[in-house]
Subunit: 456 residues, 2 copies
């Protein structure tokens, strides 16, 4: 079997599609993992991909469709008939099927659901479509194995056998009462070790962490990470078992959250992808650049107020980039450290003051070091004493102030439910630029008598 993730194979595949060489396509993709096929399809255009998918066994096609990103799904589904999708749904997990249909036009969605043969599957999908995609209900799958507390071990093994085809990964058997209320869990290990007539009620474990369907997906992710869970049952408000979330879905949540934070820090709106067209990319990025631009224009206004000083002591202008860059760097360092600690620490709410004091301590050391270095450098370099003093004092103040804004901003954003990572983004750098300029020129204005004596 040749590796299919090569440019060479891709060219052969494109030729094969062109020539409708069905044998080559089928043979070369036999026994290849759907995830690898997906990567190849990503390089093809939609009609080419569709052609390939139609040739694959339905379980492979279903797996490929289950793992597409939102944008590719939209693009792909336009070329599929509703009956084609309905035929693949039985091969998908209920949560993947619901995700696939979630952003489709209502009519298409209804058609697909109506065409699904198995009514239980259809009902599961209808139920899952009710939930918001950002909550536990939107993440869960209906596939799970449950046992009633009144059953014995043999009955439970029967149920596992019955469900074996639908439930790919078993993890844990959930124990419910006659009202479907979640009572606890029993591991498959325990079942294997118990005698055939042992009652589930006698061996199940009541210690079980579950999550309500309305909880935010990041809460679910935190819970599963904290308690090292591989699956978590989802219940409704009456504690009825609705479904379960597995760790692989949480891995996606964690990855998305990290990408979201990094995008926020970089001034890129959420959901932007590298493959987006130019227009979509501009829409995700330009607004943030405009914030920076507005800041720059306000900064010019601000410096304009000191134009008299600038005219007389031109050298002042030379150090504005030093001041603004330092303020920006310090601000981002502080906000990032705070952002990373938020949510990780349950007691953080009580520690705001402590955080600010620690940040201040670090700021003072950094501020003294940087301003001292610059001061000495200026004198060695033969710059006038007055200018050295002004720049050093301004640098010192900017480092302290930027540490405070960098620490406080994410705390405030978080308190008001805004993603604190935004505090490390262009908004804060712009604000810090303005702060830095104000401080710098105020200090210069205030110490102008000292400056005027210099050679500039």
């Amino acid at each position: 079997m040749q590796p299919i993730n090569t440019r060479e194979y891709l060219e052969k595949l494109e030729a094969a599609i062109e020539e409708q060489n069905v044998a080559f396509i089928r043979e070369s993709m036999e026994d290849v993992h759907p995830a690898d096929i997906s990567q190849v399809l990503d390089e093809l255009n939609t009609p080419q991909s569709k052609y390939v998918i139609d040739l694959l066994p339905p379980e492979v096609s279903a797996e490929i469709l289950s793992n597409l990103d939102e944008e590719t799904t939209r693009r792909f589904l336009r070329v599929f008939e509703s009956a084609e999708i309905a035929a693949l749904v039985p091969y998908m997990d209920s949560d993947d099927a619901a995700d696939l249909l979630d952003h489709q036009p209502v009519r298409f969605r209804e058609e697909v659901i109506a065409l699904i043969d198995d009514r239980e599957t259809a009902e599961h999908i209808i139920e899952l479509l009710h939930y918001d995609e950002d909550c536990a209900g939107g993440l869960m799958a209906k596939e799970l194995i449950k046992a009633y507390d009144t059953w014995n071990v043999v009955q439970t093994i029967e149920e596992i056998r019955r469900q074996a085809e639908n439930v790919e990964k078993i993890h844990t058997i959930y124990v419910v009462d006659s009202q479907e209320r979640l009572l606890g869990k029993v591991s498959i290990k325990r079942i294997l070790l118990a005698k055939a007539n042992t009652r589930i009620a006698d061996i199940f474990d009541r210690d079980l962490i579950s999550v309500e369907s309305y909880r935010d997906k990041e809460e679910v992710s935190d819970l599963m990470q904290k308690y090292d869970l591989e699956a978590i049952p989802v219940v409704n408000i009456q504690n009825r078992l609705l479904g379960r979330i597995t760790i692989d879905d949480i891995v996606d949540v964690i990855t998305e959250k990290a990408e979201e934070d990094i995008a926020a820090m970089s001034g890129i709106s959420a959901g932007a992808e590298e493959d987006d067209g130019v227009f979509r990319s501009v829409r995700a990025r330009l607004p943030w650049l405009l914030i920076g631009m507005a800041g720059g224009l306000i900064g010019a206004q601000l410096m304009g107020l000191f134009e008299g000083d600038l005219k007389e002591i031109t050298a002042l202008a030379l150090f504005t980039p030093l001041i603004t860059a330092t303020g920006g760097n310090v601000g981002i360092q502080n906000s990032t450290v705070v952002v990373q600690s938020l949510g990780r620490d349950v007691f953080s709410g009580n520690k705001r003051t402590e955080k600010i004091i620690r940040a201040l301590g670090i700021a003072v050391v950094n501020a003294i070091t940087i301003s001292l270095i610059v001061f000495v450098f200026f004198l060695l370099y033969g710059r006038p004493f007055g200018l050295a003093l002004v720049v050093s004092i301004a640098l010192f103040s900017v480092v302290i102030l930027a540490s405070i804004t960098g620490t406080v901003t994410p705390l405030v954003l978080d308190r008001y439910g805004v993603n604190p990572a935004l505090a490390s983004g262009p908004f804060i750098t712009t604000a810090n630029d303005l702060l830095g300029l104000t401080v710098y020129f105020s200090v210069a204005h205030w110490l102008r008598p000292l400056l005027a004596s210099g050679p500039f």
Copy 2:
């Protein structure tokens, strides 16, 4: 049972430790999940934590010690006797025990290993300590269930029973030959469905993704994410089964990687923690600030070359923050998008040119928009035509150039094996600042005849 994650409980606990109120501590922590106890211990000092840990059942203490971060481990282990640790090791997974001992002084490590009663456990730990912590071998645990291909179902179930105590989560049964070479897997579901005398050789699945022990942990993480694996077997170069890695360890790898990238973007050296002392924090942050400072001083030199122009047309100085901020923002946007796409796309190596062209397209649209807005704004605001032209041309060029450097830098870093996220950090903003200043003042110098006619 009262919740223990409250400030109130913490105060009660501290009082109880003070008064040696063993009953309160034991009762209040009974049935509390070790992860919750860990969070509380995080708020105590080391002697207090040690006092509490000594009172807990060994399986709970072991679990708590298994999940500490590196820094806390170092701090904690100083107050533990090697015999105390050796007594807890049997309650830990082999990978957690090895991690715990990994950064300890050799003597302490040897003592603990010598004091472990169970020699198999001790040998497992010695083996795991050989591996670098950043490779697959360093992540794996020895606990797994394997079956020889010559066994039948009954023998395999016997083995599961035998191992049940050691292997917390079963996932999959690995099938090996008489030389311990990995042949494939068989699911516990399959075992349950098969007849007692069925031979494993007849039901096992040869399709199995495994990983060599020397692979980098991020490679393992990518593999497990790509193929949605919950566990992956680790083999040596002869394909002998050594251990397995479970998804919960990979969740930690993903989280760490994201934090590392964010830290790199923010100019904080790897491994810095919010709780670090002031000195450690300064060490992680100051070097990056000094890079920015050096950049600022070089920028001043650079602008100094144009001091003649600046003296004559002071208004030029007002727009340096606009130019540098825009260049910085554009550079970070571009590098972040490239960083996020790297590694996600197997064909990315072949797409460098395509990436750069797409980035250029976006840059042109953003550049035209921003420079036009600024140009119109200047004229409306009554700024001289010459200045409007200079600033707009400079902005346009800076957006284009910063897009190119932002796109190319991470690609170059990645090619040379450096974390490309550094490209979104202070180094690139500093470089972009200098680039922006050079362009701006060069344009101004070149168009000086136009500028001189203005009111400034």
